[in-house]
Amino acid sequence: MVKKIPIGPFHPLLEEPEFFELHVDGERVVGIDITIGWSHRGIELLSEHKTWDQVPFLVERICGICSCSHPYAYVKAVEDLCRIEVPPRAQFIRCIVAELERLHSHLLWTGLAGHFLGYNTVFMWTWRFREPLLDVLEAVTGNRNHYAVMKPGGVRRDIPQEEIPNILKLLDELEKNNHMLTNAILDDPVIHARTKGVGVFNKDQCRLYGALGPTARSAGLDIDDRRDHPIDAYDKVSFNVILCEHGDVFDKAVVRQLENFESIKIIRQCLRMLEGTKPGEICTEIHEVPPGEGIGVYEAPRGEVLHYVRSNGGNMPIRHRVRAPSFNNILTNELSVLGNTVSDAGLITAAVDPCYSCTERVGIVDRASGERRIVTEADLVRLSQEKTEEIRKRFAALKGNG
């Protein structure tokens, strides 16, 4: 008998509203209907009523976690339109802040995934490792989130010289901790059992659906805007694009964990090169934005962010289009959850690191009888954790026998 399980509009795992209607046959998912737009805030329209300089403050509020990514893509779009170059020091500062953000975003995802799987130790570790990162961001930008560091033409704040040793110390610590975390995750047979072969979205499907970021790279689609469409200092630093091949939840985790090392590498290089630049030279003044259009792209932690702006020569954009990576990535759930169980569905939809937030209830509708019942976030997490526990017990029994 086929049943419908609506998940949302408030998602059981994460922080923003979303609606997934799962069509299930027993425990197996046979179809899905996704509805987005529950927190449509009209940002694009608001932006058309703000001056070019005010827009970064608006767009950094699109997402709390990626609060540097949207302003970054936006200022690149304006700079593309104005055809201007940013001073070298500002380029390095931008990359440093952007990579610090990537680190805390990836750690946050790992922690949440750990919690959902029933590994609350992983959740607590990642939160502990992430905290000093936010402190450094606060020291560098003035805020733990919503850094307000990007502006068309450069950055708003310089990095004080005395902060650099603190950042380097943090990176050393973080590198060590990330090694430990990565090994713990990659060596755990229960995590393998819960995530390998789950939520597979292959390379061809990624290309057809325009999947982005770690979602695409986990399936072997070799795209990364930091290398392919380098902005600012990204063509002055060396780093590897991390690729896996299976496109399942496990590979998505691997890509994120290994990307942390690359981010650390990038930040170290930028800090080294920052020393060769003149403190205080952090902005090119833009006196006038000409008529025309500009495209700005930036590889955010979740994938490419794209901003398109159009100007008629006035002091506000006449059109501003924002495309967050989750817009493409959430659609991949259309295929990736099929054939999996309900207890895995939450994990799969969360594996693309969707940029929507938390809540916390799920409705289950029996298609035949029309009966409806609501379950809570705790129920869905419990379902997932119970599955992990069951696998743990099975492994323990095997060990005992062996």
Partner: protein, 173 residues
């Protein structure tokens, strides 16, 4: 495939039905007529190996300018294809047969600008609350006849063309 080669192959295949403009070495724009729209997307995506990225619409008095972004990652440039869907019933063929990932953005353009995508598998609004009236299109602008729009102005400045989303003057490569 290099940028010049891409431009040449597009010009060879579609001739006068497209106008190609290069705003910078990293930004190429192709203005296409409606009837070759899907074929152009297919050519870029399947034959030339571009990546599908996303789309965007811009409302104008006479219609809606619709564009899709197809980056060439290995060649480090963005190619944007544009076409113009005339009002009062802006209609275009859907490119979801080429890239299924365009499903949501086409639904959004329909919902916001009333662009009707023919052959779309499921052209429902994607963002709208169920309670909003079906004939309300949030970003569709009704401009009174006497109001001057950028599309009406023609001061011969290439920049004005850019603002109005008009194809550039000159010849293809």
């Amino acid at each position: 495939m290099e940028r010049e080669e891409v431009k040449k192959r597009i010009a060879d295949k579609f001739g006068s039905k497209v106008r190609i403009a290069e705003r910078s070495p990293k930004r190429v724009f192709v203005y296409a007529e409606n009837e070759i729209w899907v074929e152009l997307a297919h050519f870029l995506f399947d034959d030339l190996g571009a990546r599908y990225d996303t789309g965007c619409a811009v409302d104008d008095r006479d219609g809606v300018e619709v564009m899709f972004f197809f980056p060439f990652d290995r060649e480090h440039f963005f190619l944007t294809i544009k076409t113009f869907a005339a009002k009062p019933n802006p209609t275009l063929n859907s490119i979801t047969s080429v890239c299924p990932g365009a499903k949501w953005i086409e639904r959004e353009m329909f919902e916001m600008y009333e662009v009707n995508f023919r052959n779309h598998p499921d052209l429902r609004p994607v963002l709208r609350a169920d309670t909003r009236p079906a004939d309300y299109f949030a970003a569709k602008r009704e401009v009174k006849d006497e109001h001057e729009t950028v599309r009406q102005r023609d001061d011969g400045d290439a920049r004005a063309d850019e603002v109005a989303g008009r194809p550039p003057k000159g010849t293809n490569p």
